[in-house]
Symmetry: C2
Subunit: 252 residues, 2 copies
Amino acid sequence: MVKRFGAHCALKDTDIALLQALATSESREVKAGDILWRTGETADALLILQQGWACTTRYLQDGSRQVQEIFLPGDILGLYELAFGDRRDDATMLTDGIVSELPHHQVLEIFSRSPRMTAVLFAISNQHQAILAERLVVLARRSARERIAHFLCECRARLLATEEADADGFLLPLTQQDLADALGLSAVHISRTFTSLAEEGLVQRNHFHLMIRDPERLAEVANFDGSYLRVYWEECDEPAAPSSLSPPIEAG
Amino acid sequence: MVKRFGAHCALKDTDIALLQALATSESREVKAGDILWRTGETADALLILQQGWACTTRYLQDGSRQVQEIFLPGDILGLYELAFGDRRDDATMLTDGIVSELPHHQVLEIFSRSPRMTAVLFAISNQHQAILAERLVVLARRSARERIAHFLCECRARLLATEEADADGFLLPLTQQDLADALGLSAVHISRTFTSLAEEGLVQRNHFHLMIRDPERLAEVANFDGSYLRVYWEECDEPAAPSSLSPPIEAG
DNA sequence: CGTGATATTGATTCCACTCAATATGAGTGG
DNA sequence: CCACTCATATTGAGTGGAATCAATATCACG
């Protein structure tokens, strides 16, 4: 958790101490398919995903399903509902994993005790939003080919950031139906498109193991620019002037 | 601004005083078509949209354009880039209006001085994210008809929330090309679909004036549920326990 | 009265969907 | 070890919604 927070801002000792004081809830093991929460339940805590993959999904009136976000090890689930009283989506484990809780009242405690860590939480929230915004563009304007390529590039980039995975050959614990529901396509078309990408030597997939054979060309196909994943709050070192308000700023 | 913040949480006098102390930058008038910022520029302030409509857009390599967010009077632009060093999109005025700035260092000051207002900022950010997430679902899974109907319902609901507009007949300052770029459709198809919705007596549009003739049926067509727009942080009254960490919580 | 932005309408094309049949493989129980 | 089942994936045929291309129409504005 310290590592995850530190990825967005240089933390001070006091912040680390606070984080450790808050990390009282012991982590628990969960299994693939376990439901972390359901739509409509009271939202009273964030979940820190220490190991494993998870996703949030929504079900529509007509029975179709939308996979909203994919969470990788180190991610925080539930930031989105922090200000909603209740869950807006279902959260499900895609693999076995380990999670721990951070109750909302402890988040408020972070707000009141560490502006720097507040900024970090904001940064993480912003990153989620950036990922959503990026997917929005991809869904609105790109072909099936590009959507899949983009999704794979994004997974790779996020795994690379954790520096724990072999990002060119990893376990992608999503069925083709899951991918379809995430990318707004049909499972059948996911299959066809994957086959076509494989024939071109870009990727290779059997069962849930994915191999990216040509990351550069894949990124080209996807028009992928990973800059939206790099969120780092430079300014959060600066501890906000104690009392004097609004010193003169150079105009933009 | 006080009104906008108050919509998400019961503010205390001290918070209002802080807000007013921060509102030093005088607001400025802007005209339709004015560019508030461009992709790549340094992001060092939020913009509070006091009057008028604005939107953020992104341009893709192939020249196509994505309208990311629509901002109505009272909204805050740039929350999204708070933790990015620079702008991720262009921001443009859709109508004449009035904006004022809130520099990032003042946001940090809010973080360090008012946990409650920090929570409000988080709530607003969450609401933006909710709108994005909702549009994601709509783009991924719904027909042109439903997309347009949903968009109109959303505009109506957001205008209703400000209680300043006649929400059933309002100025929608978007060309059909803008709508197309927001909803992932072609301008031609927007035209056809609008015509069809008009023939059914659901809406009526000439030039930029939109009339919603049958809000209920329109909401039905759109499968619209506006609950994602209501973000209110109940808990932010509770001023985070002073020192004792993690009192016992009932298990979920 | 021309010009440029915006919108409408028609004809045609194509990407991805649906339906449907079959394949592949993991897990289970006999 | 084999037969059965269930989840997942592949492949083919046909359809349809929205895109594209292209030709007007409408209107604000200088």
